[in-house]
């Protein structure tokens, strides 16, 4: 069977599964809709969190990025996993004990202030929408490449699926769909990785394989790759090119951003007890680590394969995948020296580079480059869609609950009935899907860059005020509000300055202390901490009931008493 029929069958089967789950797990109350009735088991929640968390960027782009960045790719690997340690130790158990529905809920109550709540709502919507538009685009790209439909048609199909289970099932539908999506995406990621590892090194475990001996050359694979890099004028694969300080700041921004992303935090409201929240972070990290420890192996295999299969090859004899990807514009060849052969070389080479390869095609093209069976290629397409759809759904729920719960119920019309709030939640989820689809079809030019910056924004707004809200009793509303506003403003301004206003200035010489826009979230976070703590010293202490609230969330007992397990 052809790649296209395999893709069609596998994608259709996975979509049927998602819709089936959505019908089975409809939400009957706002509690179901916002936090799945707080009845999800830690293991299922771990899987759902992993799918929620791993977006099209993790699945499609990350291994490609690492294969171009070599050692420097560690910023993503450590940055996007280390945040879970912070979540488990500093956030998840306490937020679960507090038992809110949303992140602005906690911020508004802990800081006894509607202003703080509204600031948090704005931050949550801003962070989530920047992130979600990239997901919808990812759905469109996968559809257009593998099923040869228009990118926009792909976005419409993706919207319809997400609309169906997010609007019908809310968090409950999303959670159980995400469990299925995790299974699809991890299978789709591991199968080609295992194939490649076996082909190249004879070791079936990719995590060990990329440290073993390359069967073709008889030397260690990493040594062989470093050698190839040197020959072709790239810098050594296992050493980086970024400054240590920048690597440090980017890693910190991604870690702290992970722990501050509202769609990740709310996942830990859905389990019955505080101890389940802790355990559930552990499971989530296991499921994430499975993909994140495989990615650097895939990166090395892909890099080696790519260099071996295109370097000095006559253009007339390129493999079929080369031509297919060339037609998408994601791979371009320009025969600068007119010798009809492909020179794929780095900045240190005397020759001119003639080949440009987009990061995003590495994972998608990898099975084809390695000549794996057609069904594996189709599986990768289904996996990419699962990753994009699951993240999009989680983000849309944050937007919907911010509007129906934090804005309507807690701010504008507190007398709204349970039924009314549930209808409002469904309508806002529906509207959010449409807006996300619109952004996917008409992406503002900067979306691709901005998605990575959602982390900096989350790091500089939510993380400090939540931490201080739990670990100190004396942090005041004035401190928190000024801290959030100044942190996110500094971060957004720095990013906007270098990516939108003066992109031509965006290199290390102009950055503050050599910190790139990707790492500035760490500075924003430190500023937020400093301002929140300083202002809190000079403003009246929080009222006694807030201080009691802080004491209450620090002890686990009594969190789950009233919650019934209903799914």
């Amino acid at each position: 069977m052809s790649v296209q029929s395999w893709t069609f069958i596998l994608v259709a089967a996975s979509f049927t599964l998602y819709i089936g789950i959505a019908v089975w797990s409809r939400a009957n109350s706002t509690k179901d809709f916002y936090i799945a009735g707080a009845g999800v088991s830690p293991l299922a929640n771990g899987m759902a969190t992993a799918a929620d968390w791993m977006s099209a960027a993790s699945f499609i782009s990350m291994a490609g990025l690492i294969s171009f960045m070599g050692y420097d790719g560690a910023v993503y690997l450590m940055g996007w996993t280390g945040g879970y340690v912070l979540l488990a130790l500093l956030l998840a158990p306490y937020l679960r004990k507090y038992g809110a529905y949303t992140v602005p809920d906690f911020v508004g109550d802990r800081y006894y202030s509607q202003t703080a709540r509204i600031v948090a709502v704005v931050c949550a919507i801003f962070v989530s929408f920047t992130y979600v538009s990239g997901q919808m685009r990812g759905v469109g790209v996968v559809f257009s490449r593998f099923l040869e439909v228009d990118v926009n048609v792909g976005v419409y199909i993706g919207m319809a699926i997400v609309f169906f289970y997010a609007v019908l099932g809310g968090m409950k539908g999303i959670t159980y769909t995400q469990v299925a999506q995790y299974c699809v995406l991890i299978f789709a990621y591991l199968v080609p990785a295992i194939f490649l590892s076996l082909l190249i090194t004879g070791n079936p475990v990719p995590q060990l394989g990329f440290g073993s001996v390359d069967q073709a050359s008889g030397v260690s694979l990493l040594e062989r790759l470093n050698g190839l890099h040197q020959e072709l004028g790239f810098s050594e694969y296992t050493s980086g090119t970024k400054s240590s300080l920048d690597v440090f700041f980017i890693t910190a921004a991604l870690m702290v951003g992970t722990a501050g992303l509202p769609h990740v935090i709310i996942r830990f409201y859905t389990v019955p007890r505080v101890r389940d929240a802790r355990l559930s972070v552990g499971w989530a990290l296991v499921f994430i680590a499975l993909l994140y420890t495989t990615a650097p192996a895939v990166a090395v295999f892909a890099r080696t394969n790519l260099l071996n299969s295109v370097s000095e090859v006559p253009y007339t004899e390129v493999p079929e995948w080369f031509t297919t990807w060339e037609s998408t514009g994601l791979l371009t060849f320009d025969d600068v020296n007119g010798d009809g052969r492909i020179q794929f070389v780095g900045p240190d080479s005397p020759l001119a580079n003639e080949l440009t390869v987009d990061n995003d095609i590495i994972v998608l093209a990898n099975p084809e480059i390695a000549g794996l069976p057609n069904w594996v290629v189709g599986l990768v397409a289904a996996g990419g869609l699962a990753a994009a759809l699951s993240t999009a759904a989680g983000l849309l729920l944050v937007v919907s609950s911010a509007v129906s719960h934090d804005l309507l119920k807690r701010s504008i019309m507190p007398e709204i009935t349970e039924r009314g709030e549930l209808i409002a939640a469904r309508i806002s989820a529906g509207v959010a899907v449409l807006v996300a689809g619109y952004l996917g079809i008409n992406p503002p030019g900067f979306v691709a860059q901005v998605v990575a910056f959602a982390f900096g924004l989350a790091a500089s707004s939510f993380f400090p005020v939540i931490i201080l809200g739990i670990f100190t009793k004396s942090t005041t509303r004035e401190g928190a509000i000024l801290g959030m506003v100044s942190g996110i403003t500094l971060t957004a301004a720095y990013i906007a300055y270098f990516t939108l206003i003066h992109p031509e200035l965006n290199h290390a010489d102009n950055w503050w202390f050599g910190i790139s826009p990707q790492g500035i979230g760490t500075v924003g976070m430190l500023l937020n901490f400093a301002i929140t703590l300083t202002v809190s010293r000079f403003t009246p202490d929080p009222p006694p009931e807030v201080q009691q609230l802080v004491e209450m969330i620090r002890v686990p007992k009594g969190a789950g008493a009233a919650h019934e397990i209903s799914a």
Binding site: Q207, L221, R278, P544, Q548, P556
Partner: protein
Amino acid sequence: MTEQPSQGSAGYQSDSSTRVRAAEYWRRNIRYVGILLVVWFTVSYGFGIIVVEPLDAVTIPGTGFPLGFWFAQQGAIYVFVALVFVYVFLMNRLDREFDLSEEDDT
């Protein structure tokens, strides 16, 4: 993360021995968190970033991995997973010791 003494807590009435125990529970929790975060920092920012170059001079025996590179792209992640489960274990034990376990809360 320093603990601030609570002020203005007039009107806060609670059994004093419960409060003392809760404060002791919290102190132990903070100590666990502190120790685990030191490990967290050491394997990622320490081994993976700050001292990555000297560590790269060593290759892990039997493999082709430079040690620093391995920590940055593999080892730190394994340690992260272990840290979370160690914390789960420590806190479940602490909850039982202080009779704050949610065993009967279901």
